[in-house]
Symmetry: D3
Amino acid sequence: MRIQIVNPNTTVSMTEKIAVAAKAVAAPGTEIVAATSKSGPASIEGHFDGAMAVPGLLAEIARGEREGVDAHVIACFDDTGLDAARSLARAPVIGIGEAAFHLGTIVSERFTVVTTLSCSVPILQSNLFRYGFDRRCARVRAAEVPVLSLEEEGSPARQRIADEIAAALAEDHCDAIVLGCAGMADLCAFYAEKFGIPVIEGVSAAVKLAEGTVALGLGTSKSGGWAPPIAKRYDGLAARFLEE
Amino acid sequence: MRIQIVNPNTTVSMTEKIAVAAKAVAAPGTEIVAATSKSGPASIEGHFDGAMAVPGLLAEIARGEREGVDAHVIACFDDTGLDAARSLARAPVIGIGEAAFHLGTIVSERFTVVTTLSCSVPILQSNLFRYGFDRRCARVRAAEVPVLSLEEEGSPARQRIADEIAAALAEDHCDAIVLGCAGMADLCAFYAEKFGIPVIEGVSAAVKLAEGTVALGLGTSKSGGWAPPIAKRYDGLAARFLEE
Amino acid sequence: MRIQIVNPNTTVSMTEKIAVAAKAVAAPGTEIVAATSKSGPASIEGHFDGAMAVPGLLAEIARGEREGVDAHVIACFDDTGLDAARSLARAPVIGIGEAAFHLGTIVSERFTVVTTLSCSVPILQSNLFRYGFDRRCARVRAAEVPVLSLEEEGSPARQRIADEIAAALAEDHCDAIVLGCAGMADLCAFYAEKFGIPVIEGVSAAVKLAEGTVALGLGTSKSGGWAPPIAKRYDGLAARFLEE
Amino acid sequence: MRIQIVNPNTTVSMTEKIAVAAKAVAAPGTEIVAATSKSGPASIEGHFDGAMAVPGLLAEIARGEREGVDAHVIACFDDTGLDAARSLARAPVIGIGEAAFHLGTIVSERFTVVTTLSCSVPILQSNLFRYGFDRRCARVRAAEVPVLSLEEEGSPARQRIADEIAAALAEDHCDAIVLGCAGMADLCAFYAEKFGIPVIEGVSAAVKLAEGTVALGLGTSKSGGWAPPIAKRYDGLAARFLEE
Amino acid sequence: MRIQIVNPNTTVSMTEKIAVAAKAVAAPGTEIVAATSKSGPASIEGHFDGAMAVPGLLAEIARGEREGVDAHVIACFDDTGLDAARSLARAPVIGIGEAAFHLGTIVSERFTVVTTLSCSVPILQSNLFRYGFDRRCARVRAAEVPVLSLEEEGSPARQRIADEIAAALAEDHCDAIVLGCAGMADLCAFYAEKFGIPVIEGVSAAVKLAEGTVALGLGTSKSGGWAPPIAKRYDGLAARFLEE
Amino acid sequence: MRIQIVNPNTTVSMTEKIAVAAKAVAAPGTEIVAATSKSGPASIEGHFDGAMAVPGLLAEIARGEREGVDAHVIACFDDTGLDAARSLARAPVIGIGEAAFHLGTIVSERFTVVTTLSCSVPILQSNLFRYGFDRRCARVRAAEVPVLSLEEEGSPARQRIADEIAAALAEDHCDAIVLGCAGMADLCAFYAEKFGIPVIEGVSAAVKLAEGTVALGLGTSKSGGWAPPIAKRYDGLAARFLEE
């Protein structure tokens, strides 16, 4: 099967890291197709970046549908554009945030999320509440590291995240950690070993959920809230997206 | 004071109807500036339309900020792009959906929402839940009239909505009706008189909330979840939006 | 339009301060009529005071209805007697607590309430929960200043409230402050300037919500939970209230 | 021990019926003292009646405290004035509504409440929600019988309530019935036998809860939300209540 | 009336202490029958112990039913096996955890639970949430004393619990304490006197609730979620339980 | 990897059907080990059956742990004994009910559960609430077919379930169906094709979630609510379970 992973920001090095993480956990028969959005911010930090990233993301979802991929993964921990992508797709669509939360509830009684910047905290809290996972999340913490610092050699980001995990284990009554950014996809094993508890990362979680959903022959239901868009006139730059 | 009302779809006749409704309730010193999005769908019906409308909406919010408007109203009942717009603005930003819900809780113990199409029902239910108003809403009903049919002379839409209101009063144990579409802005008084209960419409509700918020000197808090976007590189069509 | 503001305690100096705050934000065509309850406690601190204040409050609501006021504001942050007042009135009735919460959710992602005494904290928490605003409130804090100390020259109350606001900003992850007592109506601008965040005060918030509701022709729905009282025999002092 | 049952309306025949129901279930050592409020409505139907009944109720609570009763029961199913009464009392205070709900969750998985008039439905729904029992209540139904019709010989009230119970069993997926009015205290056994399911009535439930609470030496905590009223000046008729 | 109290662990000294506590509060006409489970762990600490204790508990419930007891009390604060016991019984069944929570909400605005080990904390939190009492519980604390240390002379357990109560009163904004283990049944009066607030203990609370429920003629509803087990083949050791 | 699927009832034909369903979706490298409980009821219908099945289930979990399986699946839709099993295991443990709900939220906006008997409905509703999925479930329906009738040739069960699915699609505003019994594992494809919507079945869903969790190196966290049982004395038949 082919699973398309869309990085909804435009930073190619981040897509590459995501692809590595995805391929590392993909089953033998799974082909990972990693796509970088062609329109949007270099990183998604806060509501504005997220909203501006969606049309570029949806263009990749549409392309994937046309090319017949079996599932889509949205590789932003905010699950940016998830409902709109589901409206567009017949294949299943999985956000890396929700994927990590699903697995977090399976292996831990209460998990803490460690994300990048505090501007993402209310977005993740709102998602947890909407998904029904808020009672299973001890706390959402920000390590105060910019997303793109995770791409830099020698950045103190890795240490700051470790410090935040240590604080979570000391203060939050949590028994697992969820890493709250696609850019942390390569750090999962490191922290799991260091702290001796389950550490869940969204890209790999979403790949496994996607494989499972496809293997069961399940796709996005088209008869409810994710029914296909109604054909209509589009204007301006938005029309340009639809052409591409 | 100047209140900008942004119609986040591209249908100018709908903007005009919205502007009439807004001006009809504006206080003497209030100037209503109605803007039509230059990019997006002709109407917003479902998640995909909503997501694609946001960049065009945000461009108008940004323009309004530069021009120094005192408040913004987002004239789609889904409150499309509300969090992103608040990140962008220092002036207060009010969605017509939330505005109607706020006033609905003031004048009724339980209200029913009557919207256009059933694809909007889960979006409004999710908003009600996130805002904390779900317990005050008896039900969200769809009259199954397309948004743009409200723009057509002689359309049966007006009657279908009346039928749905009648059904709500008979079945839902509600004591007020909230009209769930910006395109119904001109129908409020008609139904209120016909049914003898409070009928709340979002455009007029948002104008009054905006006037009140501005009069108190309140603006969008910039120190929490709606902090300004972090400056960064934007690519592709998204960069074009930022230029405009 | 005429808006009646009822101070449900019997302290006239507090009514005067409330009237000043109300008139300061009233629109040109709005006449503010401030009434002091003739029966009840000198201040409302806790459940007993609140319950005992209600008949005196309702007498003023009834008088206002007879005199044809266009809206009522209940100037106690506990929203004392709100449901009973709505049962009595055809004009809209707005509590200053709920009014502040409504605007708080529009301009901030999460607000902290700073009230007077800790006996009011569970009352406000219960209101926030019933209204559905509990998720938007970071915390309810008491500055431990008696209500009437706010009426005294040279009282340390103003400083204690400032200290509590500072503590809220440091500890609560909130991005706005709601002042939780009608007696703080004159302090709003002072703290807003001092701390550089939105500070919301209920009297002014309620006046603007009342103006907006009236301008839209909306009144309290009489067909649901706030239907008019059923005519019946009243005995004892309660009968005296009805005579007056 | 002595348990005071306060009928917060002024209808003596109803107090007598309540006293009979209370004495019928009281343990050998329990003395039931039934008091009728001297001030308020002849029956409590809706928010206004409830609010106006509270001072008269509190006067009886205060008298009971002075006379050293061991517990208080508030014999209105709306639990009118419960928090204020608890502020006033050191002895435990139990509302007949909450008492019936407590026992309802012990003997049934989901109960339906059958009350008198529909104006009481939102009050009971709000109580169930605040108490945390809403998930255990299948539905709150009104038989549409005025409270005082329960006092009339030959009234159709008894049959209407039976019809409503039958409807509940057929439609609500409930496995017990809670009778939602103090005036139904004499009907409990009749319906229990007729329908063969647990039927819970508040007066008797509250007596048993009061006996149990007193036997354990428990009283209302005075260190939290129900701390004693702060001494202060009272004016007008409210001051008259305090004198009596 | 006869009330059977089942200690679902196999430690007889604990049953004896429970029986003493139960008899100390039982009404004159109440006979307390204390039973010790014949199968299961010596103490219940965590999910595994709880699950393994249930068949032994149910055997005692079944025996009690055959012998015609009037009510059953499950003397483990986790309310182990409560739903299954209710399925088996026509008499009412009351867990000591739920009993303490019921009374806790009657005498306090917010209580803190002090239990033995932290492995019980999520179990109690889950129960509080399912019962609807989570909003009334300030916090669940563990004193980190093993259950059976409460049976040892000269154990530091009594002091550790006192320390935890003191911490709760200082930090939790609670106004009562619920003791979260059947093994603490003899400590209730000691702490109540020491700290001057209501201290609620489950065994005595359950006895009084059981007496009250029986006195009202109420039993477990058999028409809903607690309908009797459907007769069927049982295999293995489980079949042995049914024989006994 | 080896995944153990434990049928917690003692009906071998049902284990065989479950094994077929599991193997049909297992990935190439996955070995399915199906175990039948040696102690308990022939089918699990209601709380009593569920509770009595748990020790037999836990014995199989313990055996699987000793034999080094990589994951456990509990093949009862009630998720019987899930927390206790997680306390016992280091490998991940997944209930087929929760597994179906997880995937249900990924492919549908709102799903309806169709289970066997109405005695299971409150159990599943309680699970949905505890897991946080209640808002995504439109309704839990019972087809009123006994579990073991699903094992009989020519039983009308298949048709009754189809009728219930048809009713759900007509009445519930759902866009997917979750089959609520392990015994329905072979019917999934049939209904999916017949009704043209996603039909989710728990055994296959749990296998794919187990494969995914194992592939990521995740196991049950042992530092929180699912810490290993504390070693202690066990008595009676329970001790026999531990020996086996």
